[in-house]
Symmetry: C2
Subunit: 300 residues, 2 copies
């Protein structure tokens, strides 16, 4: 199954999501419009709106509500990216300069706020308070997950459980939101909401684990950031956790401290991980989450 | 009429708003709870929730909805302050260290997001989609106003109209929101919503004009920031606009540029404004907005 075949049944709706996103940029003042075009024109894979649209086919609800809710999901996601880039001082994302790098942190913070609010504005037109509440709760969960990541930076004692809790909040919650609001708006029966939620959650977990693997073995040009940047920023992810599990004593990672010259240690850690079977093990974890996502689909 | 007499009819509800705000801080993880306590425990005058509660007495709606909506208004306000302090690098607010100064910009941005979301979460329980939409629109308006201020920094050609538009967005919109949602939830008849909205708007305009006056003549210790800091940051406010109107040629203000040694020019501008009748004129503008707010009340 390739990615195009997943998008096939929702091709038309996806095109309407793009139109709807570009309408968001048509506002005054001009500078706001330019900032919005910059972040919304950067077409990624639009995975989250696709999940909302696909799960929107579960019931027999009003299809006209699905394009707006998928748009709102993408706006919420974009808001979190804009704030992330501002707080991380990231120069680029997907090879393009970030808002914070081009216009500064101030516009980035305010643009993120505007995007959150636009997402809420579009959601409020759907006439569904459950959906509104789910959106609000997702932002609370994501920002809590991000806070846990920042305050846990350079704490190399964290284990897998803490890692899973963290990525569940910062990443899987949004996938799970997309799936759930799609299902809710399709009028899927109440008892049938749990399966799409589980589908989104497990897909999101797999997505983040793969993202964290790529930080160790990915292509710098493609990722738009240097290999090992999670570790350099003090963020402990699955490959490094497994390395720490295997070599708990005198592990190089424990010598990585904020503000120090860590390049050598990060480089050596990347090499150790690449030479071991750790990456395969991580892919197996991702595959397990994917299986659970598939199982959730079968349960529908 | 003193301020205590305004709060008198809503004393009980205001105490419940405080309880409700302190419940917001009772969350996991501990660090989030500490950040929330820091920003929510800093009791200001709580003007915005008071406006919501007062306007909530207009109709005969369910009083149990008013404390939550007033809480949500204060949370939204706090979110904007936390983000403002982060982007301004403000060391203190009301004499206490800011979140960004104590914990850094990263937690400040994420905490602001969490507060916006909590405000939306509480609002979604009120069962009123109009109120939800008004909240979302207010955040859009405020962030647009802030963006206009930042991108218009050091542009000394702006006149009064641009200033009023800017402060209407960044400040009056939230006062107007507070008044409107209070009235809507009190089940005030549709035709009677315009007057409270106008009341909030004009009160907010007066509030911001006075705030901008105090930046020139206020007490540094009380304000928790140096006199003239708006001008030093490139923000053009009413007193400076009037000075520019009077002395359009060779005005010192036009020599204030970003990143330059502006202290002398700012100091001299403050002295020129203090010696003139400009401050009185500004207070007159504020008084006019107050009269319009009173007129709106009478129209009820």
């Amino acid at each position: 199954m390739n990615i195009a075949s997943i998008y096939e049944p929702i091709q038309q709706e996806m095109a309407r999501v793009e139109e709807s996103l570009s309408r968001v940029s048509q506002v005054e003042p001009l500078i706001l419009s330019r900032l919005l075009e910059h972040v919304l024109g950067d077409r990624g894979k639009r995975i989250r709106p696709a999940i909302a649209l696909l799960c929107g086919k579960l019931g027999r609800g009003k299809p006209e509500l699905l394009v707006p809710v998928a748009t709102a999901v993408e706006l919420l996601h974009t808001a979190t990216l804009v704030h992330d880039d501002a707080v991380d001082n990231s120069p680029t994302r997907r090879g393009r300069p970030t808002v914070s790098a081009t216009w500064g942190d101030v516009p980035a913070v305010l643009l993120g706020d505007y995007l959150f609010a636009t997402s809420a504005r579009i959601t409020s037109d759907l006439g569904n308070l459950t959906v509104m509440r789910l959106f609000a709760e997702a932002i609370m969960t994501i920002s809590t997950g991000e806070l846990m990541e920042r305050f846990g930076a350079y704490d190399w004692t964290q284990g897998r459980e803490q890692y899973y809790q963290r990525i569940a909040r910062k990443t899987a919650s949004l996938f799970s939101l997309a799936a759930e609001v799609g299902a809710v708006l399709s009028n899927a029966p109440r008892g049938e909401i749990e399966a799409p939620r589980r589908y989104g959650y497990n897909l999101g977990m797999a997505f983040q684990v793969v993202d964290d693997i790529l930080d160790f073995i990915g292509d710098e040009a493609e990722m738009g950031k240097p290999v090992g940047s999670d570790l350099a920023q003090g963020t402990l992810t699955l490959p490094a956790i497994i390395l720490l599990e295997r070599y708990p004593e005198d592990n190089l990672i424990r010598g990585i401290h904020p503000g120090k010259q860590n390049e050598g240690k990060v480089q050596q850690t990347i090499e150790m991980i690449s030479k071991s079977h750790i990456i395969e093990e991580c892919y197996q974890v991702a595959a397990d989450f994917c299986s659970k996502a598939c199982q959730a689909l079968k349960d529908l």
